[in-house]
């Protein structure tokens, strides 16, 4: 006999989700590098979002900066000096963050979407489906990134969308393989058998048992793929394949290189974007690794 | 202190007041809480208990194989020398040559990418560094034959052997350096009844031939009754009953032993037909032990006094002791 009213089914699901999130967050908090990465990430994202408040976008265009001294070092022109066209480096760094983050995230989402669908489908259905999808994956894997990116950019033309497309198309095989491997392990679990014995359809198995257990891997992997995408964008922009009308850190590096910042010893032009890239990559990597640790025990259903 | 009327020869192993506590962030976990027993040369002792009773921790403690940060106190006298205070060099020399262990879940303990002959040979070479290759191979062959495996199988990889054969290899591995004491932690749990019988017969044979002392750890009380001379039953980190094996199994003095024995129905005995008996609940969490006798929440004979009594091993018959206030030797 119980005096407490039984919680309804929906409330139980909600309670469960809340508990899982709560304990996940507590676990994450204990991971110091993860917290450092998170703080860094939040700061950078805030900076990118608050760009209009922090720096005047007009300062990105050379026509507006004719009055500024060119090649002014940080002592002469706060806070980070100017480039060869008199544009404030700080403004470019702040606005460049937007592009780098945007491209990085969008390309990653694209790659993860394709990769997840391919991975889960191949792993779950097996047979011919799996064979065909895995051959496709391998085909994309062996194609060298840079030549493909260059060719695609040349064909499609330099623009933000195309960069996102190029990076997405070349990155999806990695998560696809990881996810497929995870799905294969999950398929063998006894609780999948039990669900089948209860009469579950393949769809039910996939959505109720396999997907939730793979989602952790997907999230962690996403976080770790973003820095790769950002670096890819940097590389493409540096090679001149980026969107010429938008400031990005990679573009800054390209322009500084071409304008002769090295010979000018104008370190304030190429160091800040480099440091920016470094910090973003570091932040995502730290968070991703911490996430992996938090989510990993659950991936393996080990709780004791 | 053992009440058994042992002859004047000093016991091979004397364990006194052994405590094993795992240090964990969330708090200390006392796995073994004061265990005492003796083992004579060539004697077999059965240690019965279920998950969480501390038997595997006890086994690990005897060889000092527990993870760093585990606190082990008490004395473990091996031929008069305390294993717990040995210097690392002496400990390494003693491990495997005097005391060896066959682990639980041992089927996965063999290195899958090394031939079994090489794995056994490694144990030999580590302890007798001067031995030449030829002598090592010869010894490996001898050991394999000893455990009933043809010597030529030394070239095989673990996956080429059956479960029973792998268990024999592990026993052979444990005997590589001719120890005087073998600790077998659930060596036959994962094996079929027939294979288990084969391995038990092997152990019995070896024990008699080599004068090996054996501590046999398992939850299967009926196996212990058949294989060991004496049995000690563990619950919640302590020994709750000990005595000659057949007596302990046939006429248990402690209610827990009674429940454990009841889980092994005697085929042919009508008393066991259609009446499965078992205990409710679980073994207690070592971090939250009940007051008084740790078994009282699940005990069918618990009384008021059990919740506060300080139970110890009291005499329950000739050479028998049990930690229950109902035994004849308990203070009233």
């Amino acid at each position: 006999m119980s005096a407490v009213a039984a919680p309804s089914a929906r409330r139980i699901t909600w309670l469960r989700r809340r508990r899982a999130l709560g304990s996940g967050w507590r676990e994450y908090r204990r991971n110091t590098p993860g917290m450092v990465g998170l703080v860094l990430l939040v700061l950078i994202v805030l900076m990118a979002i608050a760009a209009p408040l922090l720096a005047d976008p007009a300062g990105l265009h050379a026509v507006n900066t004719v009055n500024n001294p060119a090649w002014a070092n940080p002592a002469k022109f706060h806070p980070l000096g100017t480039d060869h066209l008199g544009r404030s480096v700080m403004t470019q760094v702040i606005w460049g963050a937007r592009i780098s983050l945007l491209v990085g995230l969008a390309a990653t989402v694209l790659a993860m979407l394709i990769g997840s669908v391919v991975g889960i489908t191949a792993g779950f259905f097996g047979g011919w489906t799996e064979s065909i999808l895995m051959r496709l994956t391998e085909w994309f894997l062996v194609i060298p990134f840079l030549p493909l990116a260059i060719v695609l950019a040349a064909i499609l033309g330099p623009s933000i969308q195309n960069i996102i497309l190029v990076i997405g198309i070349t990155s999806w095989p990695f998560p696809a393989r990881l996810i497929r491997a995870q799905v294969l392990t999950m398929k063998e679990r006894l609780y999948v058998d039990r669900s089948r014995a209860l009469g579950a359809s393949e769809w039910h198995l996939m959505t109720r048992h396999i997907l939730p257990n793979v989602s952790g891997l997907i999230i962690a992997n996403t976080t770790l793929t973003v820095p790769v995408a950002i670096l890819s964008e940097t590389t493409l922009s540096f090679l001149g394949l980026g969107d010429p009308s938008r400031a990005s850190w990679g573009k800054m590096l390209q322009e500084s290189f071409e304008a002769g910042a090295l010979t000018q010893q104008a370190w304030w032009y190429y160091v800040p974007p480099g440091v920016g890239i470094l910090l973003v990559v570091l932040a995502f990597t730290l968070c991703g690794q911490a996430l992996e640790e938090v989510l990993d025990p659950r991936l393996r259903d080990r709780r004791e | 202190m053992s009440a058994a009327a042992e002859p004047a020869a000093a016991p091979l192993l004397q364990v006194r007041d052994l405590h094993v506590t795992y240090g964990v962030r969330a708090g200390a976990i006392p796995a073994v809480r004061g265990v005492n027993f003796d083992l004579a040369v060539g004697e077999t002792l059965g240690l019965a208990g279920e998950s969480g009773c501390g038997k595997s921790s006890l086994a690990g403690a005897l060889l000092r194989l527990l993870p760093r940060g585990t606190q082990v106190t008490g004395t473990v006298l091996l031929d008069g020398e305390d294993v717990l205070t040995m210097k690392p060099g002496r400990l390494r020399a003693v491990r495997w040559t005097e005391l060896a262990i066959v682990f639980q879940g041992a089927l996965h303990t063999l290195n899958p990418v090394q031939r079994i002959g090489r794995q056994i040979g490694e144990a030999i070479s580590l302890h007798s560094p001067g031995t030449r290759g030829g002598a090592v191979s010869k010894r490996v062959g001898e050991l394999l034959e000893l455990v009933g495996i043809p010597a030529r199988r030394a070239q095989d990889y673990p996956h080429q052997l059956s479960g029973g054969q792998r268990q024999r290899v592990l026993i052979g591995l444990a005997l590589a350096c001719e120890p005087r004491l073998l600790i077998a932690d659930e060596p036959t749990t994962a094996l079929d009844v027939m294979v288990q019988a084969q391995v038990l017969r092997l152990l019995d044979d070896l024990q008699q031939r080599l004068g090996l002392a054996v501590i046999f750890i398992t939850h299967d009380l009926s196996t212990l009754a058949a294989v060991c001379k004496r049995i000690a039953v563990m619950y919640a980190g302590r020994i709750v009953e000990e005595g000659p094996s057949h007596e302990v199994f046939d006429v248990p003095a402690h209610p827990y032993t009674r429940a454990l024995a009841g889980a092994f129905p005697v085929i042919g005995d009508p008393a066991f037909r259609m009446n499965p008996s078992g205990l409710a609940g679980d073994p207690p969490d070592p971090r939250e032990l009940p007051s008084g006798c740790p078994f009282h929440p699940r005990c069918p004979e618990a009384e008021e006094a059990c919740t506060s009594a300080d139970v110890e091993l009291w005499p329950a018959g000739p050479s028998r002791r049990a930690a229950c206030i109902h035994v004849p030797g308990a203070p009233r």
């Binding site: 119980s2 407490v4 039984a6 919680p7 309804s8 089914a9 139980i12 469960r16 899982a20 679990r189 609780y191 058998d193 039990r194 669900s195 089948r196 014995a197 209860l198 009469g199 359809s201 109720r208 048992h209 659950r298 259903d301 080990r302 709780r303 | 279920e50 998950s51 059956s162 479960g163 029973g164 009844v193 027939m194 294979v195 288990q196 019988a197 084969q198 939850h219 299967d220 009926s222 196996t223 827990y256 429940a259 454990l260 009841g262 889980a263 092994f264 129905p265 005697v266 085929i267 042919g268 066991f272 037909r273 259609m274 009446n275 499965p276 008996s277 078992g278 205990l279 609940g281 679980d282």
Partner: protein, 329 residues
């Protein structure tokens, strides 16, 4: 007690193709069960008992033969299979692995109810199932996770999940072997109670003869894909006829006054089933010369055989020595 058999397995064969050839895991098995009875399917690893259990539940497809539940054959189509599963449910060997660690107990039990669209209030059904499986008060367990309860309780949850569908047959694959010994009795007592209360039939797959003695009405002994002996528990376990059963019984530690017959080696794998009587390479009768003395050794080596009734008893055995035994007066 209904007259028609609950379960009829007729000449079922299940094969697995592997690198080493075709493994005939179940090689011609006939088995019948009635409602309200508990049958123990006993054998060592590799004998095919788990494969047979999974086939009956529909998790494995037989290569030939039929499985009939109350007269209707095990269906192949997905939709019909789901219907079938309302009547046959399974209890698994590893209750921890059989529960999704991310699901609460409520969700685990409700899963079957939802999939099968069992009519009625879902919460009531779940509470009833948990209660019936001995987890009381059921509400206390709703929001808990598998890792927060004991092994015995997890097995009860699995049983509750199965019973929530009101099956007529329960197939229990080693239901207590991964549980602590002292807790096994509780789960077995639960199974006995379920049979008494609902007239369900339970097929228990186990390697433990003691368990069979404890709870089974009938015992079927399997070796290398075939049933080699079958009969009422009390008769079979006290007067076994097949040499394999006798050897198994002789090594059970509880029986102290019988000379243990420890068979040499292990059972050959199902890709290389011996000719003739599949047990003959390890049979003590052949090894000791008794078979030769009885004049049946050639048949043992060359003639395969089926289960035949033992005269004067309710048992059936597949052994040349028994088929030849004189009929008792």
């Amino acid at each position: 007690m209904k007259d028609a058999p609950l379960l009829e397995v007729s000449d079922v064969h299940v094969e697995f193709r592997g690198r080493h050839g075709v493994a005939r895991a179940v090689d011609g098995v006939d088995l019948t069960m009635r409602s309200g009875e508990i049958v123990a399917l006993v054998g060592e690893s590799g004998c095919g008992k788990t494969t047979l259990a999974r086939t009956i539940v529909g998790l494995q497809t037989p290569v030939s033969g039929e499985v009939r539940l109350r007269g209707s054959a095990l269906p192949r189509s997905r939709k019909a299979l789901r219907e079938y599963r309302r009547s046959v449910q399974m209890v698994f060997q590893d209750p921890t692995g059989a529960l999704n660690a991310r699901q609460t107990i409520y969700e685990a039990v409700a899963e079957g109810v939802r999939i099968q669209r069992v009519p009625g209030n879902e919460e009531e059904l779940v509470a009833q199932a948990l209660s019936r499986a001995g987890l009381r008060p059921p509400e206390r367990f709703f929001a808990r996770y598998p890792y927060e309860i004991s092994g015995g309780q997890r097995q009860r949850v699995i049983i509750a999940g199965a019973m929530a569908l009101n099956p007529s047959l329960l197939v229990a694959d080693e239901p207590v072997s991964s549980l602590d010994a002292s807790v096994r009795g509780e789960i077995l007592a639960l199974m006995l109670r379920l049979v008494r209360e609902t007239d369900i039939g339970i097929l228990v797959v186990t390697h433990d003869l003691g368990l069979a003695w404890n709870v089974a009405d009938r015992v079927a002994v399997m070796y290398l894909g075939r049933i080699v002996e079958q009969g009422p528990t009390e008769e079979l376990l006290t007067h076994a006829h097949h040499p394999y059963t006798r050897a198994l019984l002789s090594v059970v530690p509880e029986i102290a006054d019988v000379e243990p017959q420890i068979l040499a080696g292990e059972a050959p794998d199902p890709t290389r089933i011996p000719a003739g009587c599949r047990f003959h390479p390890r049979c003590p009768l052949v090894a000791s010369g008794e078979a030769a003395r009885l004049g049946i050794e050639e048949r043992c080596r060359g003639e395969d055989l089926a289960l035949a009734p033992v005269p004067g008893s309710n048992q059936v055995v597949a052994c040349h020595a028994v088929a030849d035994a004189p009929v008792p007066a």
